[in-house]
Each structure stands twice: as C-alpha cells, then as structure tokens.
Amino acid sequence: MIESAVENATSIQLDTGTLLEAYRTMRTIREFEERLHVEFATGEIPGFVHLYAGEEAIATGVCMHLREGDRIASTHRGHGHCIAKGVDLNGMAAEIYGKRSGTCGGKGGSMHIADLDKGMMGANGIVGGGPPLVCGAGLAAKKLGTGNVAVAFVGDGGSNQGTTLESLNLAAIWKLPCIFVIENNGYAEATSCRYSVSVGDIADRAAGFNMPGLKLDGHDFLTVYEAAGKAIRRAREGGGPTLIECKVARYFGHYEGDTQAYRGPDEVKKVRETRDCIARLAAEIMRADAGAAAELERIDGQVLARVDEAIAHARSAAKPTARDLLTDVYVAY
C-alpha cells in the first residue's frame, strides 16, 4: 500500500453538475467491476479479467477533460478507462463475455477492448504497450493540427518498461501533446513497487525527461481532476507532455482469482474504509449541497439498472460464428 505523502492542495471549486457527472462515471465503473467480480466467480466469463475498482477517480478525473478526438491508450486493467472515455457499456460487457455484439466482435476480450470512434485505442495485454501508441497519436495531432491530446495510462509495473521510458523521451523531445498517467497501485502483479521501482515516487522520473512530474492522491477525484485539467490544457496549447503519478490501491487482485497473499492483512479493507474515492466524492458533494443525497441515490439506482442491462445483454447475446474466425485479419489480403 502507498503511504507516502502526496500533493493534495486542491483549490478547485466545481459546480454540482460536474461533480454529479463524475459521481455517475465513478459509480458506473465501480458497479460494473464489482458485478464482474461476482459474475466471474460463476465461471461464465472466459479468460483473464483485471478489475479497476478502487482507481475510479483517476480515469474519471482525467477523461472528463477529454473530447472524442482525443486518444487514450489503456492497460490490461482497462474497463475504467473505457467507461470514462464513453465506450458503450453493453458493447463492453458483451466483449468481456466473448459475444459477437461486443465492442470488438468477441475477438479482443477484456484485455483488448477498444473503440476508436471514442478515441479509445485499446486496453493492452502487454505491460507498457500503450505509451508508444500515445506518442503516435500525439504526433498525428501535432502534424494534422487537430488540437487533440493523447493520454497513456500506465501502471507502476509499466513504468519500468523500456517502452514507457523511451516514450517519455520521445514525447519530450518532440514536445508532443501527451500525458502519461502512472496509476501506481503498489503492485506489479504480485510484486510491490517498493521492490521493483528504483524511486519512491515515479513522478520523480519526469525530471530526467525534462517534463513536469506530479504526484497525486489517486483516491481524490478533485485532485486528479484539477491536475489533469492543467496538464491537458498545457498539452493542447503546445506546452508539451506531463507525467502524473497517482498513488492508489486496487480493491481486487491482479486478476480475478488472485488470492492476494502478497498483500498485508486488512490492507484493502483499510483503504475502502478510510480513502475510498467514491465515498470521498459523495462527501464532497454533500458538503457543497446538503440536499444532494436524493440525487446521489437516484444516480445509484440508474447505474445499477444500467449495469444490470449490460450484463443481461452480454449473457443473452449470441456468440461469434465459425465465419467470424477468419474475418478482420486484413482490410484485404
């Protein structure tokens, strides 16, 4: 678990509408992931599933600043980024169940959900696979003058990959409109970042690439929202890349089925009780508007119904057919 101090100097004042929008996205991610956790245990979901629960403030706080033309590249833990970038929940659920109506026709699965129309360049089965792609999206934005930005989500594990370090250098020398968001959840699979990362704060590596490096509490939506907003604005205006490290905890294992024996006793329980990002945002909203309780409850109900619908769609949807095996390899061959 990450205990180091983080920069939490939020001065930002957001209107209730924006806060409620964030709350809805974060609740959707949480509900979706917790439901998958339950459904995976039934054996109905094939393959490997890596859940994002606990880290919702990061995807949400970043993606709320993005438009459809902006690109993101995600990780193996990609559901939250998909939802925050606006990928359809039914399509996502169907994809995770390996169905033909899935976002990728059942050919990608949880680790490869992508929706280029929404700017989502894919979850990724290769740790550190995304940052080079994000440099390319940034390069395209710059060359084509679209004003778009590109965001790479990377874990603490991915922060050690050569692809990530090469991409930080490339983005810096080309002054690309790229943001590298390191979601440091403390573990690369089962290995603690205290063992595997050479620095206490991955954000410190930014200095070596001549770009700003920020260290944030990834459980605090407002902090992430404010910092990401500044970095994205800076990138859009030609100011170049930023590295943002968000210290966070994942609520489930590396993958579904992980016994998590490598974690301390009550580690997750403590975070859930004291630092949960949704509880904190809800408290923030209530502080701003004591009458919002009913609205939060209404959103909770809508989110539950939406996730119910997505899972029901996925369960009843048709599987791909034998014909689908051979299609989509090439545009033409």
Partner: protein
C-alpha cells in the same frame, strides 16, 4: 522511353511521389534525414545508406528523424496510423527488430483483428536485410520469416528496381501494415523503371525465367543468384524456370504450383536461416498441394544454421551462391534414382 535507375533510386522515387500525392504520409526513422540538432547540415545522410536523401529538402518536417528508440517510434507510427497519418517508418536493419518487435507483432499487426475489424493501420515498415557487406551477425540477417509468421502483417521482398517502386507504392497505399524488406546488396543494381507512379498488386509472383526442367523459387537477392545459376545450367542443357514470389505474405501459391506441375522439380533458394524459413514454408505448401507433381524430392539452398559470420571467407561460404544452386538442380535432374522413379509415372 526506357529509363534505368537503381533499386535505391526507385525506392526514393516511390517515397517522393507518394509523399507528393498524399500529405498524410510522413517518413520516420533514425537519420532518415540526418543532421537534426547538430551544427552541420540537415539531410546530412538521407538514411544510413542514403536511400532517403533529398526527401527532407522536398518535404521538410514530414521527414522526421527519431532518437534511437525503435520501440517508441515504431509504436508511434502505429499510434499515428490510428489517428489519421499514414507513416512510412524505417527500422534501419531488420536485425533491430529484437528491440521493438512487440510494437509490431503484438500491437500494430493485431489491431484490426483484436478490435473486431474496426481499426485501419496503414503503416509501412521499411527495413534492410541480407548478408554480404561484412556487417557480421547483428546487421546481416534475413528475418522476414519471423514477420511472415504473424497474421495481420504483409511482407514484401522485392528483387528488382521495377518491383521495388511498384510494390512500395502499393505498400504505402495499402490499408494494412506492410513490412518492406530491402536487400542492401540490391541498392546499386540498375533496372528499367517508369517515371510515372504505378503499383504492383501483392500476392502476384512473377516468372522471371521460363523453363521446363526445374522450378527455382528464390527470394529477394537470391533471384539474381538463381538467374546466374540458370544461365550456367542452360549451357549444359538444363532449362530452369525461376519464380520470384515478390510478396511472401500474401504468397502466390498458384504460380508456384503451376510451375512445379510443369517441371516436376523444385529448388528453393532462401537467404534466411534454414529452419522455419520461406524455403521450408513453400516446400510444405507444395508437399500438401502439389505432391503428385513432384518427380524428385524438393531441395533447399539456404545458409547453414549459424549466425552470419564476419570474416569474408566465412561470409562467402555462408551466403547461398550460384554454385550451390547448380549443385542442387543437377542433383535433381541428373540422378539416376529420380529418373527411374520418373519413368514409372
């Protein structure tokens, strides 16, 4: 009007004409211009062997020098292709695939399939192959079989200046990721090349020499080795047919099978290491689809299963040459054993 230019010039011309036609095309790679950030001239190199020389003058910042970070910039080419550009990216020597292959085979090659057919990935990776420059084990390989193995990639192995231009223009206009292998010993060879742009479709082999006695399928520079061998064999009355597949993914199986049906004998000449190379791949294909055409076993002329050696003596021994092709052909056409079995057909 016939016009002779080199293999190298034909590649430069194809790039230039296509960049002129489509502003979404960018050229990226290490020293593709050369001179970035230094106190001397820009376009100092124009590629390590000068193949892209002059393009920076014409296209300015669309010719992008990269740091030596193959993973980052080849991955960036794929990311850019998902975002509106059509990058032509140079992996200087194919031997360097070892530091960036993930971005090629796990990312770019698979986007279309993994994303359910909703991605278009128009990237061309230009890369040098081949032994003969005394460049030793890490700058001399022919690793195209490793790319051919990957679904989603197309692999092009031109052998003449004419094919190089037409196939490269096709590669640039293609919406799938294409790996374009340039044998470095072919750069100076001259050939007739039309000035106007033209394309050569992928998956269409060409018969570069007609003959009745034996089919030789040869890849890239080995086409020229096969032609030398065929000229000498012709003096002894052995008539070779030579097929140049031109692209190995897709592979024109029909042209190879039709030729084997005619000659009944097959020799494969491949500069790639002998295990799991194009020779073994095509031999297996013919065994499956054309076994009844064969009057003799298939013979493969390849280097030995060793790294490419440095010393000239050793490298010359390593590279398949005309003598080895002649020996293989002679064995098939002159052996009493195969003649006997042929007579029972």
């Amino acid at each position: 009007m016939e016009r002779k230019i080199s293999f190298q010039q034909s590649i430069n011309e194809a790039l230039s004409q296509e960049m002129e036609r489509d502003s979404r095309i960018v050229l990226m790679g290490e020293d593709v211009a050369g001179g970035c950030g230094g106190d001397g001239k820009m376009d100092a190199w124009g590629g390590v062997l000068g193949v892209t020389k002059g393009l920076w003058d014409k296209f300015g910042d669309r010719v992008i020098d990269t740091p030596i970070s193959e993973s980052a910039f080849i991955g960036a080419a794929f990311g850019a292709s998902l975002s509106g550009l059509r990058p032509v990216v140079e992996l200087m020597f194919v031997d360097f695939m070892g530091v960036c292959f993930d971005q090629i085979f796990n990312q770019g090659a698979k986007f279309r399939y993994m994303f359910g057919g909703r991605a278009v990935t128009p990237v061309v990776i230009r890369t040098m192959i081949g032994a003969g420059l005394r460049a030793a084990a890490q700058h001399s390989q022919c690793l195209y079989p490793m790319f051919t193995h990957i679904p989603g990639l197309k692999c092009v192995v031109p052998s003449t200046p004419y094919d190089a231009k037409g196939l490269l223009i096709q590669a640039i206009r293609d919406d799938d990721p294409v790996v374009f292998f340039e044998h470095k010993l072919l750069y100076p060879i001259l050939g007739d090349v039309p000035e106007e742009p033209y394309t050569i479709p992928f998956g269409e082999a060409v018969c570069v020499r007609e003959g009745d006695d034996v089919t030789i399928v040869a890849i890239a520079r080995m086409v020229h080795v096969a032609l030398q061998a065929a000229a000498r064999l012709a003096e002894d009355g052995v008539d070779c047919e030579i097929i140049d597949p031109r692209t190995i993914s897709p592979l024109d199986e029909d042209t190879i099978l039709e030729s084997v049906e005619k000659t009944g004998r097959l020799v494969l000449v491949d500069e790639a290491s002998p295990r799991c190379n194009m020779a073994t791949d095509i031999a297996a294909m013919v065994a499956q689809k054309g076994f009844e055409f064969l009057r003799a076993p298939v013979r493969m002329v390849t280097p030995p299963h060793t790294p490419v050696p440095f010393s000239d003596v050793l490298e010359d021994l390593y590279i398949p040459d005309a003598a080895k092709v002649i020996a293989a052909v002679n064995e098939l056409v002159s052996s009493a054993k195969w003649k006997a079995s042929a007579s029972t057909r």
